[in-house]
Structures are given as structure tokens and as C-alpha cells.
């Protein structure tokens, strides 16, 4: 190998090293320590011993999250007891003005024992409350339909604890480099959006079950 080629290959190595450094530099190291704070039990559906764990980071005001509900519900129906679903809040407050309030309302419904039906109502009626000037009217009416006590629900909506729980999830989402919703982690592997979940995610679930001999 002649000296010129050696030098040029040295330059190529320098370019590769600079590439790695700039990608990690752009990612930023500050405040991104991944901490796994368990989700409240009411936001977990399925058995702790299920071989598949789906962690969903979602935003109640996001249309893509609503669209992803169909394949997600389909997967839950298909795999049944083999799947455990953990719901995490990641309201994208910069583009969805009511997403945080909706997450707090669902949190409150959860504390009163009705997280999943309330979660479904928020997605199923998304078109109605997102365009409202005061979506809290709808949040209260959904709570009422589920038989939640108005006073206790209202008191929870303004409590710092419910908001703090949502903020904690948002921080975790940031620490896991989530910038789009919905983002799913299926046994730790990331899938972004309903399409990735429905195509690659389901394939990944099948692979895991096949490896574990759990058809």
C-alpha cells in the first residue's frame, strides 16, 4: 500500500470518527439518563408473567395515536393473555393544546378505577373534544358516563399529583429519545407509529413467541 493511499484511508477513518462524534454530539448527553419508574397499576393491562410486554407512549390528542388504536386492540385480541400492555403518557404539548389536560383526566379516571374505559372514550370521541374551546366539559361528561363522582373527579383534575404523574411520564419519554407518538416498545424494541406496529411489531411478537415456544 503506497503512502498516498495510507494517508487517504487515514482521512477516511477521521471522517468516520467525526461522524460518530457529531451524531452523539447532536443527541446530547445532558439529562438523558434512562430511568424506569413503573407505571401506576391502573395503566397496566394483562399479567405480569405475560411473555410479551408492550409499552405504549401516547398522546390522547394525536390523530396517529387514535389510528394506532385499531391495530393495538387487534393485537390484544389476537394474543390475549400472552400480552401485557403498559400505557405511558407523552402529550405533545407544543402542537396539541389539550393533550396534557386529557392525560390528566385519564389519570384521574384511572385513580378512580376507570382508566381503560376512559382511555377508549377519549380516543373514540377525539374528534369532538379536540375542537372544543373547553374540552373539560367533555372530560367531565365522559367521567359522568362511567359513573365517576363529579366532585372527586374535579378535585383530581386540579390536583398536583395527577399532573405530576403525567409529567413524570413525559420526562421518561424524553429520556428514551421519543419525539413522536405513538411509540411502542415491544419487549424493549422500538416501533414508531401504527404502521410500524402493525407490520414489523406484530412480526416481532410472533418471533418472540416462536422462540419461547408459545404459539
Amino acid at each position: 500500500m503506497n503512502r498516498a493511499l495510507k494517508r487517504r484511508l487515514g482521512g477516511l477513518l477521521l471522517a468516520v470518527a467525526a461522524s460518530v462524534a457529531s451524531a452523539y454530539g447532536a443527541r446530547g448527553f445532558t439529562g438523558r439518563v434512562e430511568m424506569r419508574i413503573p407505571a401506576p397499576a391502573f395503566r397496566v393491562m394483562g399479567s405480569a408473567s405475560a411473555p410479551i410486554e408492550i409499552v405504549e407512549y401516547s398522546d390522547f390528542q394525536c390523530p396517529a395515536c387514535r389510528a394506532a388504536e385499531a391495530p393495538l386492540r387487534g393485537a390484544l385480541g389476537l394474543y390475549g393473555y400472552k400480552v401485557r400492555l403498559v400505557f405511558r403518557d407523552d402529550p405533545l404539548t407544543t402542537i396539541h393544546p389539550w393533550a396534557f389536560e386529557a392525560a390528566v383526566a385519564a389519570e384521574c379516571a384511572g385513580r378512580m378505577g376507570k382508566f381503560w374505559p376512559y382511555h377508549d372514550m377519549l380516543y373514540d370521541n377525539q374528534g369532538e373534544w379536540v375542537s372544543s374551546k373547553d374540552p373539560k366539559v367533555f372530560f367531565r361528561s365522559y367521567a359522568q358516563k362511567l359513573g365517576l363522582k363529579r366532585k372527586a373527579f374535579d378535585s383530581c383534575l386540579s390536583s398536583p399529583e395527577a399532573a405530576s404523574s403525567v409529567r413524570s411520564d413525559m420526562q421518561q419519554a424524553r429520556n428514551r429519545w421519543i419525539s413522536g407518538t405513538p411509540t411502542f416498545f415491544i419487549n424493549g424494541r422500538r416501533f414508531v407509529g401504527g404502521n410500524q406496529f402493525a407490520s414489523l411489531g406484530i412480526h416481532w411478537i410472533d418471533q418472540i413467541l416462536k422462540k419461547r415456544n408459545t404459539p
Binding site: R7, A23, G25
Partner: protein, 157 residues
């Protein structure tokens, strides 16, 4: 350092295309590849599996080609690769335009900056011309290639 106008244009082309590719690559490589794959999926050109593979490889290709251009190392192959990348971006954008599709994000710079379809096409057209300038004259001024070739060629090159 002396040089003709063409040499300077080649040098500036190298810096501009290299800088743009490094910025685009770093912003995309810094995020999980699955997020960039969603953007590629929106073009509806390749399958979700292929989108994920492209999303994992493309940002790193942009970075390495970009840094090679900035350094002026393997300048001609790097400029040709940059031209190829930019041409493929133009083709993908034109196919979106021809199919009257709406893209929420062209994916050019990850999640950081979302130029419109027209702006992205204009930017890529300029980058293609600059990549050609870098290909034809880019190694003549302040380049690693020139240093690697040794002092004798530098005097007469």
C-alpha cells in the same frame, strides 16, 4: 493560496454540500432510526422493512460522505456519492409531487427543520450543482487528497 475561480467554486461546493450532509446526517443519526423510518414510509415508495433499513444506514452515509467532502478526502468518489444521494432525494420528492401527496415532513433534516416540498426541491437542485462543482474541481484547494499525494504533486498540481 492561489487558485482559479473554478477551483474556488469547487472548494466552496465541497464545503456547502459536505456541511449540508453532515447537518442532515447528524440530526437524523441522533434520533432513533424508527422515527426516520416513519418519514420514509410516508413517501410510500418502499416497504416498512426497507424503510427501517434505509433509516438505519442513510444518516451514517450522509455523515461519512459529508465529512469526506469537508476534509477533501476521496473527494471525487465522495462528491459522486453526494450527487447520487441528492439525485435520489430529488427523485423521491418529485414522485410525491407527481402523486399529489402531502408530506408532513420531507425528512431532509430529521425533526429539526421541515422545509416545504418546493423549498426542499430547490435546495436539492442547488446541492446537486455544487456537488458537480466539487466533483470536477473540489480537490484542488485545501484538500486532504492534495496533502496525501505529497509535496511534489502539490507544487505542480
Amino acid at each position: 493560496m492561489s487558485g482559479s475561480l473554478g477551483d474556488w467554486l469547487g472548494f466552496l461546493g465541497r464545503l456547502a454540500v459536505g456541511g449540508a450532509l453532515v447537518a442532515a446526517g447528524a440530526l437524523k443519526a441522533s434520533a432513533p432510526s424508527q422515527e426516520f423510518a416513519v418519514v420514509i414510509d410516508a413517501y410510500r415508495i418502499v416497504s416498512p422493512g426497507a424503510s427501517l433499513a434505509i433509516a438505519a444506514v442513510l444518516p451514517w452515509a450522509e455523515l461519512v460522505v459529508g465529512f469526506c467532502l469537508l476534509l477533501g478526502d476521496f473527494t471525487r468518489p465522495a462528491a459522486a456519492a453526494a450527487g447520487g444521494l441528492v439525485a435520489s432525494f430529488v427523485a423521491a420528492l418529485l414522485s410525491v409531487k407527481m402523486r399529489h401527496m402531502e408530506l408532513p415532513n420531507c425528512g431532509c433534516f430529521g425533526a429539526a427543520f421541515h422545509p416545504s416540498l418546493g423549498h426542499a426541491l430547490a435546495m436539492d437542485a442547488v446541492l446537486f450543482i455544487l456537488a458537480y462543482a466539487a466533483y470536477s474541481r473540489g480537490a484542488r484547494l485545501w484538500s486532504w487528497d492534495r496533502w496525501a499525494s505529497g509535496p511534489a504533486r502539490e507544487r505542480h498540481g
